[in-house]
Protein backbone atom coordinates (compact mmCIF):
# COMPACT_ATOMS: atom_id res chain seq x y z
CA UNK A 1 0.00 0.00 0.00
CA UNK A 2 1.37 3.33 -0.96
CA UNK A 3 0.48 6.61 0.60
CA UNK A 4 0.31 9.66 -1.63
CA UNK A 5 0.00 13.28 -0.62
CA UNK A 6 -3.78 13.17 -1.09
CA UNK A 7 -3.97 10.28 1.37
CA UNK A 8 -1.75 12.11 3.82
CA UNK A 9 -4.07 15.09 3.63
CA UNK A 10 -7.12 12.91 4.08
CA UNK A 11 -5.61 11.19 7.12
CA UNK A 12 -4.49 14.51 8.58
CA UNK A 13 -8.00 15.83 8.12
CA UNK A 14 -9.43 12.79 9.91
CA UNK A 15 -6.94 13.39 12.72
CA UNK A 16 -7.75 17.11 12.70
CA UNK A 17 -4.18 18.22 12.20
CA UNK A 18 -3.73 21.13 9.81
CA UNK A 19 -0.93 20.41 7.36
CA UNK A 20 0.40 22.40 4.45
CA UNK A 21 1.04 21.01 0.99
CA UNK A 22 4.74 21.04 1.79
CA UNK A 23 4.08 19.03 4.98
CA UNK A 24 2.12 16.50 2.97
CA UNK A 25 4.92 16.22 0.41
CA UNK A 26 7.42 15.62 3.18
CA UNK A 27 5.25 13.21 5.13
CA UNK A 28 4.20 10.98 2.25
CA UNK A 29 7.56 9.26 1.72
CA UNK A 30 8.18 9.20 5.47
CA UNK A 31 4.92 7.43 6.20
CA UNK A 32 5.45 5.13 3.24
CA UNK A 33 8.78 4.16 4.63
CA UNK A 34 7.30 3.35 8.02
CA UNK A 35 4.23 1.59 6.62
CA UNK A 36 6.37 -0.42 4.22
CA UNK A 37 8.44 -1.61 7.16
CA UNK A 38 5.33 -2.42 9.17
CA UNK A 39 3.97 -4.52 6.35
CA UNK A 40 6.54 -7.22 6.98
CA UNK A 41 3.89 -8.54 9.38
CA UNK A 42 2.29 -9.94 6.25
CA UNK A 43 4.90 -12.71 6.44
CA UNK A 44 3.42 -14.06 9.65
CA UNK A 45 0.78 -16.75 9.34
CA UNK A 46 -1.98 -15.64 11.70
CA UNK A 47 -4.80 -17.64 10.15
CA UNK A 48 -5.52 -19.55 13.34
CA UNK A 49 -4.59 -16.86 15.84
CA UNK A 50 -6.98 -14.79 17.95
CA UNK A 51 -6.20 -11.10 18.30
CA UNK A 52 -4.94 -10.22 21.77
CA UNK A 53 -7.67 -8.79 23.99
CA UNK A 54 -6.08 -8.42 27.41
CA UNK A 55 -2.33 -8.44 27.86
CA UNK A 56 -2.46 -9.87 31.38
CA UNK A 57 -5.36 -12.14 32.33
CA UNK A 58 -7.67 -9.90 34.31
CA UNK A 59 -11.42 -9.45 34.59
CA UNK A 60 -13.31 -6.25 34.02
CA UNK A 61 -14.62 -5.05 37.37
CA UNK A 62 -17.97 -3.33 37.60
CA UNK A 63 -18.39 -0.49 40.06
CA UNK A 64 -21.40 0.19 42.25
CA UNK A 65 -24.00 2.63 40.94
CA UNK A 66 -23.14 5.41 43.35
CA UNK A 67 -22.66 9.12 42.70
CA UNK A 68 -19.14 9.98 43.85
CA UNK A 69 -18.27 13.05 41.86
CA UNK A 70 -19.90 16.29 40.77
CA UNK A 71 -20.64 19.84 41.88
CA UNK A 72 -17.15 20.87 40.86
CA UNK A 73 -17.86 23.14 37.95
CA UNK A 74 -15.05 25.52 38.78
CA UNK A 75 -12.51 22.72 38.90
CA UNK A 76 -13.79 21.30 35.64
CA UNK A 77 -13.63 24.70 33.92
CA UNK A 78 -10.46 25.90 35.59
CA UNK A 79 -8.10 25.12 32.71
CA UNK A 80 -10.50 26.03 29.91
CA UNK A 81 -9.05 28.33 27.24
CA UNK A 82 -12.48 29.98 27.00
CA UNK A 83 -15.65 29.70 29.00
CA UNK A 84 -18.47 31.76 30.42
CA UNK A 85 -21.55 31.40 32.61
CA UNK A 86 -20.43 27.92 33.62
CA UNK A 87 -20.04 26.65 30.06
CA UNK A 88 -17.08 25.83 27.86
CA UNK A 89 -17.40 27.85 24.71
CA UNK A 90 -16.39 27.08 21.15
CA UNK A 91 -16.79 28.89 17.84
CA UNK A 92 -20.45 28.83 16.95
CA UNK A 93 -21.47 25.53 15.44
CA UNK A 94 -24.06 25.57 12.70
CA UNK A 95 -25.97 22.30 12.76
Amino acid sequence: MSVDTATVKKVASLARIAISDADAERLAPELNNILGWIEQLGEVDTSSVEPMTAVIPNKLRLREDVVTEGNQRDAVLQNAPQGEHGFFTVPKVVE
Partner: protein, 501 residues
Amino acid sequence: MTESTYRIQGETGEWEVVIGLEVHAQVTSNAKLFSGAATAFGAEPNSQVSLIDAAMPGMLPTPNQECIRQAVRTGMAIGAVINKWSRFDRKNYFYADLPQGYQISQLFHPLVGEGQIDISLDDKDPEANVKTIGIERIHVEQDAGKLMHDQHPTRSYVDLNRAGVALMEIVSKPDMRSPQEAGAYLSKLRAILRYVGSCDGNMDQGSMRADVNVSVRKPGAEFGTRTETKNVNSVRFVMQTVEIEARRQVEVLEAGGKIVQETRLFDPDKGETRSMRSKEDAHDYRYFPDPDLLPLELDDAFLEECRASLPELPDAKRRRYEQELGLSAYNAATLTADADTARWFEALLAEGARIQKKGENEVARASANWLLSDLYGALNRLGKDLDTSPVSPEQGAELLALAADGTLSGPLAKQVFEIMLETGDAAGKIVEERGLKQTSDTGAIEAVIAEVLAKNPGQLEQYRGGKEALFGFFVGQTMKAMAGKANPAVVNELLKKALAG
Protein backbone atom coordinates in the same frame (compact mmCIF):
# COMPACT_ATOMS: atom_id res chain seq x y z
CA MET B 1 -47.88 -12.48 10.86
CA THR B 2 -49.98 -10.31 8.63
CA GLU B 3 -48.65 -8.59 5.58
CA SER B 4 -48.94 -4.86 5.75
CA THR B 5 -50.96 -3.32 3.01
CA TYR B 6 -49.60 0.18 3.48
CA ARG B 7 -48.63 1.49 0.08
CA ILE B 8 -47.60 4.83 -1.29
CA GLN B 9 -49.36 5.63 -4.50
CA GLY B 10 -46.81 7.05 -6.90
CA GLU B 11 -47.15 8.00 -10.51
CA THR B 12 -45.49 4.77 -11.52
CA GLY B 13 -47.58 2.60 -9.25
CA GLU B 14 -47.44 1.42 -5.65
CA TRP B 15 -44.39 1.64 -3.41
CA GLU B 16 -43.65 -0.22 -0.22
CA VAL B 17 -41.79 1.42 2.63
CA VAL B 18 -39.14 -0.43 4.65
CA ILE B 19 -38.36 0.85 8.13
CA GLY B 20 -35.78 0.05 10.77
CA LEU B 21 -35.38 1.94 14.03
CA GLU B 22 -32.30 2.53 16.14
CA VAL B 23 -33.58 3.64 19.50
CA HIS B 24 -31.31 5.33 22.02
CA ALA B 25 -32.68 4.77 25.49
CA GLN B 26 -31.09 6.34 28.54
CA VAL B 27 -30.40 3.66 31.12
CA THR B 28 -31.93 4.42 34.49
CA SER B 29 -29.00 4.74 36.90
CA ASN B 30 -27.76 7.06 39.58
CA ALA B 31 -24.29 7.52 38.12
CA LYS B 32 -22.91 7.61 34.60
CA LEU B 33 -21.70 4.64 32.58
CA PHE B 34 -17.98 5.18 33.23
CA SER B 35 -17.86 7.84 35.93
CA GLY B 36 -19.35 8.63 39.32
CA ALA B 37 -21.12 11.80 38.18
CA ALA B 38 -24.90 12.01 38.60
CA THR B 39 -27.38 11.58 35.76
CA ALA B 40 -30.37 13.58 37.02
CA PHE B 41 -32.22 15.65 34.45
CA GLY B 42 -32.23 19.44 34.55
CA ALA B 43 -29.20 20.21 36.73
CA GLU B 44 -27.13 23.39 36.45
CA PRO B 45 -24.78 23.32 33.44
CA ASN B 46 -21.56 21.36 34.01
CA SER B 47 -22.49 20.59 37.62
CA GLN B 48 -22.74 16.84 36.95
CA VAL B 49 -19.38 16.42 35.32
CA SER B 50 -16.56 14.25 36.58
CA LEU B 51 -12.97 14.71 35.50
CA ILE B 52 -13.48 11.55 33.45
CA ASP B 53 -16.46 13.04 31.62
CA ALA B 54 -14.41 16.14 30.88
CA ALA B 55 -11.68 13.85 29.47
CA MET B 56 -8.92 15.35 31.57
CA PRO B 57 -5.48 13.93 30.71
CA GLY B 58 -4.90 10.57 32.39
CA MET B 59 -8.54 9.96 33.33
CA LEU B 60 -9.80 6.41 32.90
CA PRO B 61 -13.25 4.83 32.56
CA THR B 62 -14.63 2.31 35.07
CA PRO B 63 -17.93 0.66 34.16
CA ASN B 64 -21.10 0.98 36.23
CA GLN B 65 -22.62 -2.40 37.08
CA GLU B 66 -26.18 -1.13 37.15
CA CYS B 67 -25.99 0.07 33.55
CA ILE B 68 -24.80 -3.34 32.41
CA ARG B 69 -27.44 -5.06 34.52
CA GLN B 70 -30.27 -2.96 33.10
CA ALA B 71 -29.18 -3.59 29.53
CA VAL B 72 -29.04 -7.34 30.23
CA ARG B 73 -32.51 -7.29 31.81
CA THR B 74 -33.82 -5.39 28.79
CA GLY B 75 -32.30 -7.99 26.51
CA MET B 76 -33.93 -10.75 28.52
CA ALA B 77 -37.29 -8.97 28.30
CA ILE B 78 -37.20 -9.16 24.50
CA GLY B 79 -36.09 -12.78 24.50
CA ALA B 80 -32.64 -11.87 23.25
CA VAL B 81 -29.36 -13.69 23.35
CA ILE B 82 -27.21 -12.29 26.17
CA ASN B 83 -23.55 -12.35 25.26
CA LYS B 84 -21.56 -13.41 28.30
CA TRP B 85 -18.47 -12.04 26.61
CA SER B 86 -18.69 -8.57 25.12
CA ARG B 87 -16.46 -5.59 24.95
CA PHE B 88 -16.30 -1.87 24.48
CA ASP B 89 -14.98 -0.16 21.40
CA ARG B 90 -14.06 3.41 20.68
CA LYS B 91 -15.86 5.31 17.95
CA ASN B 92 -13.55 8.13 17.01
CA TYR B 93 -14.74 11.52 15.80
CA PHE B 94 -14.30 15.14 16.75
CA TYR B 95 -17.15 17.23 18.01
CA ALA B 96 -17.51 19.80 20.75
CA ASP B 97 -20.01 17.66 22.66
CA LEU B 98 -17.60 14.70 22.71
CA PRO B 99 -14.79 15.47 25.17
CA GLN B 100 -12.72 12.31 24.68
CA GLY B 101 -12.69 12.64 20.92
CA TYR B 102 -14.30 9.22 20.90
CA GLN B 103 -17.48 7.63 22.14
CA ILE B 104 -17.14 4.41 24.10
CA SER B 105 -19.63 2.07 22.45
CA GLN B 106 -19.87 -1.56 21.37
CA LEU B 107 -19.48 -2.33 17.69
CA PHE B 108 -17.77 -5.69 17.34
CA HIS B 109 -19.15 -7.57 20.35
CA PRO B 110 -22.42 -6.10 21.69
CA LEU B 111 -23.79 -7.09 25.08
CA VAL B 112 -27.14 -8.26 23.72
CA GLY B 113 -27.73 -10.14 20.47
CA GLU B 114 -30.87 -10.99 18.53
CA GLY B 115 -34.32 -10.78 20.06
CA GLN B 116 -37.82 -9.77 19.03
CA ILE B 117 -40.83 -7.69 19.95
CA ASP B 118 -44.44 -8.50 19.03
CA ILE B 119 -46.50 -5.52 18.03
CA SER B 120 -50.25 -5.44 17.79
CA LEU B 121 -51.94 -3.55 15.00
CA ASP B 122 -55.51 -3.86 16.30
CA ASP B 123 -56.47 -1.98 19.45
CA LYS B 124 -59.75 -3.78 19.92
CA ASP B 125 -58.31 -7.23 19.61
CA PRO B 126 -54.60 -7.32 20.39
CA GLU B 127 -54.17 -10.93 19.34
CA ALA B 128 -55.89 -10.49 16.01
CA ASN B 129 -53.16 -8.72 14.09
CA VAL B 130 -49.76 -9.36 15.60
CA LYS B 131 -46.45 -8.83 13.85
CA THR B 132 -43.03 -9.82 15.15
CA ILE B 133 -40.31 -7.23 14.73
CA GLY B 134 -36.77 -8.57 14.94
CA ILE B 135 -34.18 -6.91 17.14
CA GLU B 136 -30.68 -7.03 15.75
CA ARG B 137 -28.79 -6.14 18.91
CA ILE B 138 -28.63 -3.94 21.99
CA HIS B 139 -25.38 -2.34 22.92
CA VAL B 140 -24.34 0.01 25.68
CA GLU B 141 -22.64 3.32 24.99
CA GLN B 142 -21.97 6.82 26.29
CA ASP B 143 -24.19 9.77 25.55
CA ALA B 144 -22.62 13.02 24.36
CA GLY B 145 -22.84 16.44 25.97
CA LYS B 146 -25.08 19.24 24.82
CA LEU B 147 -24.35 22.29 22.70
CA MET B 148 -26.33 25.47 22.95
CA HIS B 149 -26.24 27.76 19.96
CA ASP B 150 -28.56 30.59 20.90
CA GLN B 151 -26.79 32.07 23.92
CA HIS B 152 -24.11 34.07 22.14
CA PRO B 153 -23.74 35.61 18.66
CA THR B 154 -20.47 33.89 17.77
CA ARG B 155 -20.07 31.08 20.27
CA SER B 156 -21.72 27.80 21.10
CA TYR B 157 -21.90 26.78 24.74
CA VAL B 158 -20.88 23.30 25.88
CA ASP B 159 -22.63 21.56 28.77
CA LEU B 160 -21.23 18.17 29.66
CA ASN B 161 -23.91 17.08 32.15
CA ARG B 162 -25.18 14.46 29.74
CA ALA B 163 -21.71 13.46 28.57
CA GLY B 164 -21.09 9.89 29.65
CA VAL B 165 -24.64 9.01 30.65
CA ALA B 166 -25.38 5.39 29.75
CA LEU B 167 -27.47 4.69 26.70
CA MET B 168 -28.77 1.46 25.27
CA GLU B 169 -28.88 1.46 21.52
CA ILE B 170 -31.64 -0.90 20.49
CA VAL B 171 -31.36 -1.71 16.82
CA SER B 172 -34.33 -3.27 15.05
CA LYS B 173 -34.21 -5.24 11.86
CA PRO B 174 -35.76 -3.55 8.81
CA ASP B 175 -39.00 -5.37 9.54
CA MET B 176 -41.53 -2.54 9.62
CA ARG B 177 -43.61 -1.63 6.60
CA SER B 178 -45.83 1.28 7.63
CA PRO B 179 -45.87 4.35 9.88
CA GLN B 180 -48.38 2.51 12.08
CA GLU B 181 -45.98 -0.38 12.57
CA ALA B 182 -43.14 1.98 13.40
CA GLY B 183 -45.36 3.77 15.91
CA ALA B 184 -46.59 0.52 17.43
CA TYR B 185 -43.04 -0.80 17.69
CA LEU B 186 -41.76 2.30 19.43
CA SER B 187 -44.73 2.35 21.83
CA LYS B 188 -44.30 -1.31 22.63
CA LEU B 189 -40.56 -0.96 23.14
CA ARG B 190 -41.17 2.00 25.42
CA ALA B 191 -43.71 -0.02 27.40
CA ILE B 192 -41.24 -2.89 27.82
CA LEU B 193 -38.44 -0.55 28.94
CA ARG B 194 -40.73 1.00 31.51
CA TYR B 195 -41.90 -2.36 32.76
CA VAL B 196 -38.30 -3.53 33.11
CA GLY B 197 -37.38 -0.22 34.71
CA SER B 198 -34.30 0.15 32.52
CA CYS B 199 -35.37 3.46 30.98
CA ASP B 200 -37.98 6.00 32.05
CA GLY B 201 -39.07 6.42 28.43
CA ASN B 202 -39.49 10.18 28.74
CA MET B 203 -39.10 11.17 25.15
CA ASP B 204 -39.67 14.85 25.82
CA GLN B 205 -36.64 14.88 28.16
CA GLY B 206 -34.56 13.04 25.61
CA SER B 207 -34.43 9.79 27.60
CA MET B 208 -35.51 8.01 24.47
CA ARG B 209 -35.00 9.00 20.87
CA ALA B 210 -35.04 7.19 17.59
CA ASP B 211 -32.97 7.21 14.43
CA VAL B 212 -35.39 6.28 11.69
CA ASN B 213 -34.03 4.30 8.74
CA VAL B 214 -36.35 4.50 5.75
CA SER B 215 -36.16 3.13 2.23
CA VAL B 216 -38.78 2.46 -0.41
CA ARG B 217 -39.13 -0.22 -3.06
CA LYS B 218 -41.63 -1.63 -5.47
CA PRO B 219 -43.41 -4.43 -3.57
CA GLY B 220 -41.32 -7.57 -3.67
CA ALA B 221 -38.23 -5.82 -5.09
CA GLU B 222 -34.80 -5.60 -3.44
CA PHE B 223 -34.28 -3.13 -0.56
CA GLY B 224 -33.73 0.41 -1.75
CA THR B 225 -31.07 2.82 -0.49
CA ARG B 226 -31.95 4.05 2.96
CA THR B 227 -31.66 7.35 4.73
CA GLU B 228 -31.30 7.80 8.48
CA THR B 229 -33.30 10.54 10.12
CA LYS B 230 -31.66 11.30 13.46
CA ASN B 231 -32.99 11.93 16.94
CA VAL B 232 -36.73 11.83 16.38
CA ASN B 233 -38.24 12.29 19.80
CA SER B 234 -41.87 11.16 19.86
CA VAL B 235 -43.98 8.32 18.54
CA ARG B 236 -46.01 10.74 16.47
CA PHE B 237 -42.89 12.31 14.95
CA VAL B 238 -41.49 8.89 14.10
CA MET B 239 -44.70 8.07 12.22
CA GLN B 240 -44.60 11.44 10.47
CA THR B 241 -40.95 11.01 9.59
CA VAL B 242 -41.64 7.66 7.96
CA GLU B 243 -44.55 9.04 5.99
CA ILE B 244 -42.80 12.21 4.85
CA GLU B 245 -39.44 10.63 4.11
CA ALA B 246 -40.96 7.70 2.20
CA ARG B 247 -43.03 10.10 0.11
CA ARG B 248 -39.98 12.24 -0.57
CA GLN B 249 -38.00 9.21 -1.69
CA VAL B 250 -40.79 8.11 -4.02
CA GLU B 251 -40.87 11.57 -5.57
CA VAL B 252 -37.09 11.60 -6.03
CA LEU B 253 -37.08 8.15 -7.60
CA GLU B 254 -40.03 8.80 -9.86
CA ALA B 255 -38.38 12.01 -11.07
CA GLY B 256 -35.47 9.83 -12.18
CA GLY B 257 -33.28 10.71 -9.20
CA LYS B 258 -31.32 8.53 -6.80
CA ILE B 259 -31.54 8.23 -3.04
CA VAL B 260 -28.31 9.20 -1.30
CA GLN B 261 -27.43 7.24 1.81
CA GLU B 262 -27.24 10.10 4.27
CA THR B 263 -28.18 11.45 7.64
CA ARG B 264 -31.28 13.62 7.76
CA LEU B 265 -33.11 15.73 10.26
CA PHE B 266 -36.88 15.89 10.86
CA ASP B 267 -38.36 19.35 11.16
CA PRO B 268 -41.79 19.01 12.77
CA ASP B 269 -42.65 22.67 12.18
CA LYS B 270 -42.11 22.52 8.45
CA GLY B 271 -43.22 18.90 8.20
CA GLU B 272 -40.13 17.88 6.24
CA THR B 273 -36.87 16.00 6.56
CA ARG B 274 -33.68 17.59 5.35
CA SER B 275 -30.11 16.55 4.80
CA MET B 276 -27.58 17.16 7.61
CA ARG B 277 -24.67 17.79 5.30
CA SER B 278 -22.65 19.46 8.05
CA LYS B 279 -22.20 16.11 9.78
CA GLU B 280 -21.54 14.21 6.60
CA ASP B 281 -17.93 15.06 5.90
CA ALA B 282 -15.85 11.91 5.54
CA HIS B 283 -17.15 9.75 8.34
CA ASP B 284 -14.56 7.19 9.24
CA TYR B 285 -15.03 6.29 12.86
CA ARG B 286 -11.93 4.11 13.17
CA TYR B 287 -13.56 1.77 15.67
CA PHE B 288 -11.18 -0.33 17.74
CA PRO B 289 -11.40 -2.08 21.13
CA ASP B 290 -11.01 0.37 23.99
CA PRO B 291 -7.63 -0.46 25.53
CA ASP B 292 -8.62 1.17 28.82
CA LEU B 293 -11.24 -1.52 29.39
CA LEU B 294 -10.99 -5.28 29.55
CA PRO B 295 -13.55 -7.57 27.94
CA LEU B 296 -16.83 -7.65 29.85
CA GLU B 297 -17.44 -11.19 31.10
CA LEU B 298 -20.70 -11.98 32.85
CA ASP B 299 -21.10 -14.95 35.15
CA ASP B 300 -24.15 -17.13 35.66
CA ALA B 301 -24.99 -15.66 39.06
CA PHE B 302 -25.16 -12.19 37.58
CA LEU B 303 -27.39 -13.35 34.73
CA GLU B 304 -29.56 -15.31 37.14
CA GLU B 305 -30.15 -12.23 39.27
CA CYS B 306 -31.03 -10.24 36.15
CA ARG B 307 -33.57 -12.86 35.12
CA ALA B 308 -35.03 -13.30 38.58
CA SER B 309 -35.60 -9.58 38.95
CA LEU B 310 -37.57 -9.25 35.72
CA PRO B 311 -41.20 -8.29 36.28
CA GLU B 312 -44.18 -9.77 34.44
CA LEU B 313 -44.05 -8.22 30.98
CA PRO B 314 -46.90 -6.51 29.08
CA ASP B 315 -47.97 -9.40 26.85
CA ALA B 316 -47.97 -11.94 29.65
CA LYS B 317 -49.84 -9.56 31.87
CA ARG B 318 -52.43 -8.80 29.22
CA ARG B 319 -53.11 -12.49 28.67
CA ARG B 320 -53.37 -13.07 32.40
CA TYR B 321 -55.85 -10.20 32.77
CA GLU B 322 -57.99 -11.76 30.09
CA GLN B 323 -57.71 -15.36 31.14
CA GLU B 324 -57.55 -15.15 34.92
CA LEU B 325 -59.29 -11.88 35.67
CA GLY B 326 -61.89 -12.19 32.94
CA LEU B 327 -61.29 -8.74 31.51
CA SER B 328 -62.18 -7.90 27.94
CA ALA B 329 -59.33 -8.01 25.46
CA TYR B 330 -59.56 -4.28 25.00
CA ASN B 331 -59.52 -3.48 28.72
CA ALA B 332 -56.66 -5.90 29.33
CA ALA B 333 -54.65 -4.27 26.55
CA THR B 334 -55.37 -0.77 27.76
CA LEU B 335 -54.50 -1.54 31.36
CA THR B 336 -51.20 -3.24 30.43
CA ALA B 337 -50.02 -0.84 27.74
CA ASP B 338 -48.13 1.11 30.32
CA ALA B 339 -46.31 -0.07 33.43
CA ASP B 340 -47.67 2.74 35.59
CA THR B 341 -51.27 2.00 34.65
CA ALA B 342 -50.84 -1.71 35.32
CA ARG B 343 -49.17 -0.96 38.64
CA TRP B 344 -52.03 1.36 39.65
CA PHE B 345 -54.61 -1.17 38.58
CA GLU B 346 -52.95 -3.97 40.50
CA ALA B 347 -52.80 -1.88 43.64
CA LEU B 348 -56.50 -1.13 43.24
CA LEU B 349 -57.21 -4.77 42.66
CA ALA B 350 -55.19 -6.03 45.59
CA GLU B 351 -56.76 -3.59 48.01
CA GLY B 352 -60.25 -4.26 46.65
CA ALA B 353 -59.83 -8.02 47.08
CA ARG B 354 -58.43 -7.51 50.54
CA ILE B 355 -61.21 -5.32 51.94
CA GLN B 356 -64.01 -7.14 50.18
CA LYS B 357 -62.50 -10.48 51.17
CA LYS B 358 -62.93 -11.71 47.63
CA GLY B 359 -60.68 -13.07 44.93
CA GLU B 360 -59.03 -10.56 42.60
CA ASN B 361 -60.91 -12.11 39.74
CA GLU B 362 -64.18 -11.25 41.49
CA VAL B 363 -63.41 -7.57 41.80
CA ALA B 364 -61.41 -7.17 38.58
CA ARG B 365 -64.13 -6.20 36.16
CA ALA B 366 -65.65 -3.51 38.37
CA SER B 367 -62.18 -2.19 39.14
CA ALA B 368 -61.18 -2.07 35.48
CA ASN B 369 -64.40 -0.38 34.43
CA TRP B 370 -64.14 2.20 37.16
CA LEU B 371 -60.47 2.95 36.39
CA LEU B 372 -60.91 3.18 32.64
CA SER B 373 -64.17 5.14 32.58
CA ASP B 374 -64.77 6.98 35.87
CA LEU B 375 -61.21 7.69 36.95
CA TYR B 376 -59.77 8.30 33.47
CA GLY B 377 -62.75 10.53 32.66
CA ALA B 378 -62.18 12.57 35.79
CA LEU B 379 -58.37 12.78 35.30
CA ASN B 380 -58.90 13.88 31.73
CA ARG B 381 -61.27 16.56 32.88
CA LEU B 382 -58.81 17.72 35.55
CA GLY B 383 -55.80 17.58 33.23
CA LYS B 384 -54.08 15.06 35.48
CA ASP B 385 -52.71 11.56 35.11
CA LEU B 386 -52.42 8.53 37.36
CA ASP B 387 -49.21 9.85 38.90
CA THR B 388 -50.94 13.02 40.05
CA SER B 389 -54.35 11.50 40.66
CA PRO B 390 -56.12 13.03 43.70
CA VAL B 391 -57.55 9.59 44.43
CA SER B 392 -55.21 6.77 45.41
CA PRO B 393 -55.70 3.10 44.51
CA GLU B 394 -56.57 2.41 48.14
CA GLN B 395 -59.23 5.13 48.14
CA GLY B 396 -60.62 3.86 44.86
CA ALA B 397 -60.83 0.35 46.28
CA GLU B 398 -62.78 1.61 49.27
CA LEU B 399 -65.25 3.38 47.01
CA LEU B 400 -65.71 0.27 44.91
CA ALA B 401 -66.22 -1.82 48.01
CA LEU B 402 -68.97 0.52 49.23
CA ALA B 403 -70.67 0.20 45.87
CA ALA B 404 -70.26 -3.56 45.82
CA ASP B 405 -71.78 -4.13 49.27
CA GLY B 406 -74.79 -1.96 48.47
CA THR B 407 -73.86 0.94 50.74
CA LEU B 408 -73.73 3.19 47.68
CA SER B 409 -75.94 3.07 44.66
CA GLY B 410 -74.44 3.79 41.25
CA PRO B 411 -75.47 7.45 41.30
CA LEU B 412 -74.40 7.83 44.92
CA ALA B 413 -71.01 6.31 44.14
CA LYS B 414 -70.51 8.84 41.38
CA GLN B 415 -71.49 11.60 43.75
CA VAL B 416 -69.06 10.38 46.43
CA PHE B 417 -66.30 10.04 43.83
CA GLU B 418 -66.77 13.68 42.81
CA ILE B 419 -66.40 14.73 46.43
CA MET B 420 -63.30 12.54 46.77
CA LEU B 421 -61.73 14.28 43.79
CA GLU B 422 -62.44 17.68 45.31
CA THR B 423 -61.49 17.00 48.91
CA GLY B 424 -59.17 14.03 48.76
CA ASP B 425 -61.19 12.49 51.57
CA ALA B 426 -61.84 8.77 51.85
CA ALA B 427 -65.16 7.44 50.55
CA GLY B 428 -66.19 6.05 53.92
CA LYS B 429 -65.63 9.36 55.59
CA ILE B 430 -67.67 11.21 52.98
CA VAL B 431 -70.52 8.73 53.25
CA GLU B 432 -70.45 9.02 57.04
CA GLU B 433 -70.24 12.80 57.25
CA ARG B 434 -72.71 13.61 54.53
CA GLY B 435 -75.10 10.78 55.20
CA LEU B 436 -74.93 9.57 51.66
CA LYS B 437 -75.60 6.00 52.60
CA GLN B 438 -78.05 4.14 50.42
CA THR B 439 -81.20 3.12 52.30
CA SER B 440 -83.16 -0.08 51.90
CA ASP B 441 -85.57 0.85 54.66
CA THR B 442 -88.85 -0.31 53.11
CA GLY B 443 -91.02 1.73 55.45
CA ALA B 444 -89.34 4.97 54.54
CA ILE B 445 -89.33 4.17 50.85
CA GLU B 446 -93.03 3.18 50.94
CA ALA B 447 -93.87 6.48 52.60
CA VAL B 448 -92.08 8.43 49.89
CA ILE B 449 -93.69 6.36 47.14
CA ALA B 450 -97.08 7.09 48.61
CA GLU B 451 -96.28 10.77 48.52
CA VAL B 452 -95.09 10.61 44.94
CA LEU B 453 -98.20 8.82 43.80
CA ALA B 454 -100.36 11.33 45.63
CA LYS B 455 -98.59 14.24 43.96
CA ASN B 456 -98.92 12.84 40.48
CA PRO B 457 -102.44 11.54 40.04
CA GLY B 458 -102.49 12.21 36.28
CA GLN B 459 -99.44 10.06 35.58
CA LEU B 460 -100.72 7.42 37.91
CA GLU B 461 -103.91 7.25 35.97
CA GLN B 462 -102.09 7.01 32.68
CA TYR B 463 -99.84 4.26 34.02
CA ARG B 464 -102.68 2.27 35.30
CA GLY B 465 -104.35 2.85 31.98
CA GLY B 466 -101.53 0.90 30.33
CA LYS B 467 -98.76 3.44 29.75
CA GLU B 468 -96.14 1.39 31.58
CA ALA B 469 -93.29 3.45 30.18
CA LEU B 470 -94.09 5.90 32.96
CA PHE B 471 -92.48 3.48 35.44
CA GLY B 472 -89.15 5.20 34.97
CA PHE B 473 -90.77 8.55 35.79
CA PHE B 474 -91.93 7.23 39.15
CA VAL B 475 -88.53 5.74 39.88
CA GLY B 476 -86.91 9.06 39.12
CA GLN B 477 -89.35 11.00 41.29
CA THR B 478 -88.87 8.59 44.18
CA MET B 479 -85.07 8.68 43.95
CA LYS B 480 -85.10 12.45 43.70
CA ALA B 481 -87.32 12.74 46.75
CA MET B 482 -84.85 10.52 48.64
CA ALA B 483 -81.85 12.49 47.42
CA GLY B 484 -80.58 9.47 45.54
CA LYS B 485 -79.99 7.45 48.66
CA ALA B 486 -82.68 4.82 48.14
CA ASN B 487 -81.60 1.38 47.08
CA PRO B 488 -82.82 1.22 43.46
CA ALA B 489 -83.69 -2.46 43.62
CA VAL B 490 -85.91 -1.93 46.65
CA VAL B 491 -87.48 1.16 45.04
CA ASN B 492 -88.27 -0.86 41.93
CA GLU B 493 -89.87 -3.63 43.86
CA LEU B 494 -91.97 -1.41 46.13
CA LEU B 495 -93.01 0.88 43.27
CA LYS B 496 -94.27 -2.02 41.23
CA LYS B 497 -96.42 -3.08 44.15
CA ALA B 498 -97.73 0.42 44.82
CA LEU B 499 -98.46 1.15 41.18
CA ALA B 500 -100.31 -2.10 40.82
CA GLY B 501 -102.54 -0.69 43.49
